[in-house]
């Protein structure tokens, strides 16, 4: 699928990247995966509509630098300049966070997730109700499968652009991370 997307976007093999002119055009490229209405087209793709601005910018920066790697995103980010990244981050940050149809966690899963939080102090950065701010992402209501995937990748080192998160995920049992993901995905609202 990844190569198909790249071909669709015209980002490879045809004489270099295709330059989109306006921020809407640039952002349109993102819609093919992250959704034209903010709902991602696959479950392991994160919501970026309404995500925090600083976080989106730093992820684009890190994809370009190679500190974070993903076949599709690394290619896309390689075509972007710093101003583009900042503009895209601002553009998506002001969109409305979409509500996915994800169930609230059970009492037992909630209990375990809260124990993890009190142990490694997630809300010390992600803030109350996991709303995030600036360079710290919102987690509440994020796509469940993406959360499972990215916490695991922090833990096993595949996602290497935040060693602090890697340390905290390694300090947490793998099973608990899945429960934390379920809990976070079920926190649908903004506060």
């Amino acid at each position: 699928m990844a190569l198909g997307v790249l071909a669709l976007l015209g980002l490879k093999d045809a004489g270099g990247p295709v330059k989109a002119d306006t921020i809407e055009e640039k952002a349109g490229v993102c819609a093919s995966c992250h959704g034209a209405n903010g709902v991602p087209t696959a479950k392991n793709i994160p919501i970026i509509w309404g995500q925090t601005e600083g976080y989106l910018y730093l992820q684009l920066r890190d994809f370009k630098k190679g500190a974070r790697q993903n076949e599709v995103m690394s290619q896309i980010a390689s075509t972007l300049e710093k101003d583009d990244m900042k503009a895209l981050a601002a553009y998506f940050a002001q969109k409305t966070w979409p509500v996915l149809d994800q169930p609230a966690a059970s009492d037992e899963v909630t209990r375990i997730a809260k124990t993890v939080n009190s142990s490694v102090q997630c809300t010390s950065c992600h803030l109350e109700r996991f709303q995030g701010n600036s360079t710290v992402p919102r987690l509440a209501g994020q796509s469940h499968d993406y959360l499972v995937k990215t916490t695991a990748e922090f833990r096993n080192g595949v996602r290497g652009n935040n060693p602090g998160m890697t340390s905290l995920m390694k300090a947490t049992p793998e099973d608990d991370l899945v429960k934390v993901s379920t809990y976070l995905a079920g926190l649908a609202g903004s506060y």
């Binding site: 910018y57 730093l58 939080n117 490694v120 010390s124 950065c125 060693p163 602090g164 340390s167």
Partner: protein, 569 residues
């Protein structure tokens, strides 16, 4: 931004109020004497210098330049504190962690909230005069909450440092920006949560970022123009030190000096990303023209492999010249710290007994280790350290891959919370945490301004947590009294001439204790965590106690948005 319709609480009204305060039946002598230093329209250097005897205003984050947090008004005292009632409650627009120290100038109160908002309030009524909402840049990088610990005031300006690492001067009457300077680049992990300090025309500010691989500093900016005057790097280019094998209390830290020396030869001096944030205000000694501050942990917090040496001046008390920023002396508490048990609570200048019992100018600092350290102000050397205020176990067990249990946990002891003192009783009052943790280590390369812990400190969920309020005799190092609290304590404490100390808890209780013996004399349920340092002031001859009740991000205490003023009526 500020609402222009609400700027003008008239100075005539203020003058009239003060005239009433001075002529009314209820005023105390302290109020009368306090006003002689200022002209009631601006905060002069004289007024700032004499703040320790000013029982009307609260002019510095920690009360006065010595940071005594001793308020010289006895109207509210042990005999009447039981009658303390809310005078007013102001609700800010921001429901998030509140760490502000209210500053009160001639009946006007300045408070801040998370995300660097500033409010000017009528200190009699709690009515809003103006509100400054900082236009935050897109990048903020902060550890432990989007906090702000308050403003500094001088002349007609109010200074606030912001989460996106700016220093901003506001017009005290309108809240409009007079100047705005970037202190450092937030993309590299710098942010500001501390209150500035103003002395002799300079605004002093440190930086956060010890969890992000910054190179820490204290900077002085010209108070009128905002131009940079000097920078003191808290990490010198030669940060190696003397390869100290013991901490300042004489305990072995189990360093592998040979391995560190080999790493130094291979990697070079790690000073560029060694951390060393300065979280809290310096104490200012105008007699000697020195400032004293404490420097936080090295980066990365728990992994010493990439940062061989003592990691100067992290985890240290440091003194520099106020005019030039030139180094005078330092004393390191923990060399090559791998537990984040650093130095954050603001130091206090007060007279202490030296080792021979002779009175000397001393510096007090309450550490995350749980000790109160007493230094000689002349050369920063240690005179004594107190009995441990919290359990210490398995010190100094090195962090392991699996996690090693050691007490105190990484939040302390005493966190950033300022201590209070009562010079007549020779007591220092500190609030403490007991939070058992395991320390684990995990090496990683410098991540360009991202969270860089080098491992994890993890609360052990099955173990009981609690806090305490502790009074320490700083002339002997002995604990005079101690009161246990239901939860770990964070926020701050205030002592008054009324024989009281005031401090709040994460469960919403705000309490007054006898400063002499720790007996509980009053309490109030504020509805959200009271995790901010209290202040006191007097208007119309009436003394008030004021504190923020907004909870705490770091310890996840219930959030709120209230500034609460209490008085006896």
């Amino acid at each position: 931004m500020a609402d222009p319709r609400r700027y003008h609480l008239s100075t005539t009204m203020l003058a009239a109020a003060f005239a009433m305060a001075l002529s009314g039946p209820g005023y105390s002598e302290e109020i009368k004497s306090a006003t002689k230093f200022g002209d009631l329209s601006s905060v002069t250097q004289d007024l700032l210098t004499h703040a320790s005897s000013d029982s009307s205003n609260f002019l510095h984050t920690n009360g006065d330049y010595g940071q005594s947090r001793f308020y010289p008004n006895s109207q509210i005292n042990t005999t009447n504190v039981a009658k303390l009632r809310p005078a007013w409650i102001f609700q800010t627009e921001v429901k998030e962690s509140l760490e502000t120290s209210p500053i009160i100038v001639n009946g006007i109160m300045y408070v801040t909230t998370s995300f660097s908002h500033v409010y000017a309030l009528n200190a009699r009524t709690g009515e809003e005069i103006w509100h400054y909402a900082h236009k935050m840049g897109p990048i903020t990088t902060f550890c432990c909450g989007p906090n702000n610990r308050g403003v500094a005031v001088a002349d007609n300006l109010v200074y606030v440092a912001t989460l996106d690492a700016h220093l901003v001067a506001l017009d005290a009457h309108t809240g409009k920006t007079v100047w705005d300077k970037e202190v450092a680049d937030p993309e590299e992990g710098y942010s500001e949560t501390m209150a500035p300090t103003v002395a002799k025309g300079k605004v002093l500010i440190g930086t956060n970022g010890g969890e992000y691989g910054i190179r820490g500093f204290v900077k002085a900016f010209d108070a009128k123009t905002g131009n940079l005057v000097w920078t003191f790097n808290t990490v010198p280019e030669n940060s190696v030190g003397v390869w100290a094998e013991k901490d300042l209390t004489g305990r072995d830290m189990h360093r592998d000096i040979a391995a560190e020396k080999a790493a130094l030869a291979k990697l070079g001096d790690p000073y560029k990303t060694l951390g060393g944030g300065v979280w809290q205000n310096p104490a200012v000694d105008l007699e000697t023209n020195r400032i004293y501050f404490v420097v936080g942990n090295p980066s990365p917090d728990l992994d010493g492999a990439s940062r061989p040496g003592d990691n100067l001046y992290t985890d240290s008390l440091v003194s520099v010249d106020l005019d030039t920023g030139k180094y005078i002396c330092h004393q390191q508490y923990i060399s090559h710290d791998v537990w984040d048990l650093d130095a954050v609570s603001p130091p206090v200048i007060t007279q202490v007994a030296d080792k021979d019992g002779k009175p000397v100018k001393g510096i007090l600092h309450a550490g995350k280790t749980g000790h109160l350290y007493v230094h000689d102000a002349k050369d920063c050397s240690l005179i004594r350290f107190s009995e441990a205020m919290v359990p210490q176990e398995n010190m100094w067990a090195l962090p392991t891959k699996e996690g090693a249990r050691m007490l105190p946990g990484a939040n302390g002891g005493v966190e950033w919370s300022p201590i209070a003192t009562d010079p007549k009783q020779g007591l220092a009052y500190a609030i403490n945490l007991h939070q058992p943790m395991t320390y684990s280590v995990e090496s990683s390369a410098y991540p360009s301004g991202k969270l860089w812990l080098g491992g994890a400190f993890k609360v052990i969920p099955t173990e009981e947590q609690w806090g305490n309020v502790t009074a320490v005799d700083y002339n002997t190092g002995k604990i005079r009294w101690q009161v246990k609290t239901a939860q770990p304590m964070i926020g701050g404490i205030l002592a008054t001439a009324g024989g009281l100390v005031f401090t709040g808890e994460g469960n919403g209780l705000f309490k007054a204790y006898s400063s002499e013996n720790g007996s509980l004399l009053w309490q109030f349920q504020a509805g959200a965590g009271v995790n901010a340092p209290p202040s006191s002031y007097s208007v119309d001859g009436q003394q008030y106690i004021v504190v923020g009740a907004g909870g705490n991000t770091q310890l996840d205490y219930k959030r709120g948005n209230a500034i609460m003023a209490f008085t006896i009526n």
